[in-house]
Symmetry: C2
């Protein structure tokens, strides 16, 4: 039947959604969430129907994405027929029923995800089923391969291509900003695409953005990397493994991530990486909580790497407290620049040179960490970082103090003498979010102490920075009910970690993987 | 922060959805699918955010539902703050993780469903988790109680209140239209709310609507039932257990229904029913396929009934072929009227009087089926049906032939002599759908034969009716690749039920419960 196009001034999160009135839908024999086959000037495409009580008859509303795909204008005629439900729905249903999926079935699902043929309801059901039933290595491999296949890939025309990845969950982790210039200074290629924070105070893209642009196009990335061997860019708009961006929309609200392995590894493979170190921070308030979990995850990364022809090594790292002293985009970028200039905190230096060292050994160097340290202390890593900053469009001579930090400041001080017994990652992250990170780049927290440090009454435990008194007030409010840093006489003195009563709401685990 | 309202000419499927541009969302520190607290003239409400690349800054788009709830106009100022994620999300996550939910947690979820605080993604994940992990009787009871609590209930001020329910899955099942007048003619109250077809050729509401209006308001229903002891109406807009209408939007695309028991029983309880017979048609192409499944379901219905203080009996019924000869709203309504007038097919008569008989025995009568048959043969049931038709606004003197049946007709004839070996429910339903049922009331199928009947070459196996040659053509197209009625020499002659090759797409089970 023929309808008249009405263009809606709205997007549908990348999906192809059309709207018609309930009566028109009844006439076609379809209901909301059924599929329609649209035909306009020889271009045919399947869209998902939403029905409306208030739409006029004979009019087909189009969200931006489908309107642009079909290149139609207001009032254009368009031919509409009911379409078959995509076959991939049957496979999603099989997964719900607990069956293992075959590679060709997974491929059909990923294709339909990327082609926007599945609704949020269907995607959510699939992701939930993956979470509950789990995935075996065959499924993980097939998911990875399909996610690579249905997206762009980069070929830098050289080998090895180094990379590192942290699964995240610890505040203040600026390791990538030290590792990348070390590896590149040692003469290896390391094109690093990174993510923005979703639930944490800063992702690597947010940190790097405090210094220079990170929104590079694919061709710009290739140029920068061909020139200087490295980049630190935002990977979100590169269309590498685009299925993942659609999966994550569903994973985020429920804080689940059954696609952790395929998600990370498909993006690495699409980037052309051949040698990758995966950092698995482990701690009671980190994303991964036990050594057993960490080891199992590491084994799976390595096995998946083998299957996808990538060399993978994993590092289980200390995740009980923030890395370094700074949390928040600008503060962390400052600390990274200082570390490259030779005055970094010992944990940042050790973590970065250890991870860089593993990478260097993977590509054939000996005494990896010593070699990494040499790049750092000689200033070669800093020089390389300044090349990267310049190549990405920033000021190569930037100094740490050039990066603005908020004028509004709140100092939290020790109310007694003692030793730092506990430093709560999650409370720190929550306060940093309350004052505006990651969007307010100049907001964040600077720790005055770390685990085990001795403090005197009145010493600054940490300082909170932001750009408005309103935001600072939100942090103060939070601090009335939390004690992010616990000071006691000696370890073992305060044994109660949490009190639970009838009215306690169990804490939501809000870690979503850093992709 | 303050925004200016833009009213969108679109609905959001009952949910409270607002739209703002990505930059505004970043400033607020939220992303798509997060919650916002809206405040307008002292009315506060939580809405779900969708972000848009194309929206201007400072503007908050509102879908119909939320705009109407807040009673705002274009350009009105509105105060917007990030809102906490609802606590129910934690409970949904617990269910995903395989935990059993406590009644108070289920109640929080159902409340948030009814208050429109959950997005489609979250609802879908919950329903999928229920499907995969299953629900124990405590959870089923809690779900039922909460679904009743968060909706309207009816009190007819008398007892017993009889009811019947079929879980559906067999075409042509017009039993309800015979059972209701039998029970009412015997002097009992039976206010029947029924559903429209979603995936089948007709629901009871569609059948009844071929004769008289079924869209009665709650107060009209109470009046009709107080007057004449019965009604047969559409239950979809009565706001009884409204959570269910939101769950079903999610269940439908995936053809799953983990909420079968709470869904049916909460609507019965909200209607005030005290004595209910549940019909469980069982057959290889019905919704329930084995006797074991049917028995387990029946036991669960009875147990749930006990917990909700309703008396339940179940009937496992023959589901291997359609009930009676007619499929499609008008054709079925005709057959129901003929049955009430004394000339019904034996299977319709037996099924209706058996079910009515069980109900009569439940409320204390003896020899239930005989008593039901007496109501039928004496014409009392027909007279009662005509009262119901009149009370609902139809013509009480309607004759079967007054109900229009489509002029376009296709006869499918036997190509050999023999016996009817198989009559495929699903193929029959598919053809009926292809010619327009349930929306085209005059469309449908009349069977010429039933299982076991002897046929001669050239005999009519079935006739297809509809109102346009185009629709008839769609049936002809389908018939090229299917044989809904199989004729052979003797049972056992055709042993192959289905052929499967590499390219076979497994059949999708498209049965969704009739609620």
């Amino acid at each position: 039947m023929q309808y008249s196009v009405r263009l809606l001034d709205l997007e549908a999160g990348g999906k192809y959604i059309v709207v018609m009135c309930v009566d028109d839908a009844r006439t076609l024999g379809v209901i909301s969430n059924d599929r329609l086959m649209l035909n306009s000037n020889g271009t045919a495409v399947v869209a998902i129907l939403n029905t409306s009580e208030v739409f006029p008859r004979g009019v087909l509303g189009m969200y931006k994405e489908i309107g642009e795909y079909l290149d139609v204008e207001e009032g254009d005629p368009i031919d509409v027929e009911p379409a078959e439900r995509p076959e991939s729905l049957l496979h999603i249903r099989s997964k719900i029923m607990g069956e293992k999926l075959m590679p060709k079935h997974i491929d059909a699902i990923v294709e339909d995800v990327v082609q926007r043929h599945l609704s949020s309801i269907e995607l959510s059901s699939f992701v939930t089923a993956l979470q509950i039933h789990g995935t075996n290595m065959e499924e993980i491999e097939a998911l990875s391969r399909s996610m690579i296949k249905w997206g762009k890939t980069i070929d830098f025309g050289r080998t090895p291509i180094c990379d590192k990845h942290s699964i995240g969950g610890v505040p203040g982790d600026k390791t990538t900003m030290i590792v990348v210039p070390i590896i590149a200074a040692a003469g290896y290629t390391i094109p690093k695409s990174s993510s923005r924070a979703i639930t944490s105070p800063a992702g690597t893209a947010d940190r790097m953005e405090a210094i220079c642009p990170v929104n590079l196009r694919l061709d710009e990335i290739i140029e920068v990397v061909n020139d200087i061997g490295a980049c630190i860019v935002w990977g979100g708009a590169l269309d590498l493994a685009p299925a993942d961006d659609l999966f994550i929309q569903v994973e985020y609200p429920l804080s689940i991530d059954p696609l952790l392995l395929p998600s990370i590894m498909s993006k690495k493979k699409a980037m052309g990486s051949t040698h990758v170190v995966v950092d698995i921070p482990t701690g009671r308030e980190a994303k991964i909580k036990t050594m057993e979990e960490a080891q199992q995850l590491a084994i799976n990364f390595i096995e998946l790497g083998n299957r996808l022809e990538m060399k993978i090594r994993c590092a289980v790292t200390e995740g009980e407290q923030p890395i370094g002293y700074c949390i928040g985009p600008s503060l962390e970028a400052r600390e990274a620049l200082k570390t490259l200039a030779g005055s970094g905190p010992p944990d940042v230096v050790d973590k970065a040179t250890s991870i860089a060292g593993i990478l260097l050994e993977m590509v054939g160097e000996e005494n990896g960490q010593a070699r990494a340290m040499e790049m750092l202390t000689s200033g070669k890593a800093e020089a390389k970082m300044r090349e990267i900053i310049g190549a990405q469009g920033g000021d190569p001579d930037v100094k740490p103090e050039d990066l603005a930090v908020g004028d509004e400041r709140l100092d939290v001080r020790a109310v007694r003498d003692g030793r730092v017994l506990w430093l709560k990652n999650r409370s720190i992250a929550q306060i940093a979010r309350a004052v505006g990170t990651p969007n307010t780049k100049c907001a964040g927290i600077e720790l005055g102490v770390k685990l085990g440090d001795e403090v005197k009454e009145g010493d600054i435990l940490f300082s909170v920075y932001t750009d408005s008194l309103r935001k600072l007030g939100q942090a103060e409010e939070l601090l009335e009910n939390m004690e992010p840093i616990i000071v006691g006489n000696r370890i073992g003195e305060k044994m109660i970690m949490m009190k639970i009563s009838e009215s306690t709401t169990p804490g939501s685990e809000r870690y979503i993987i850093d992709r």
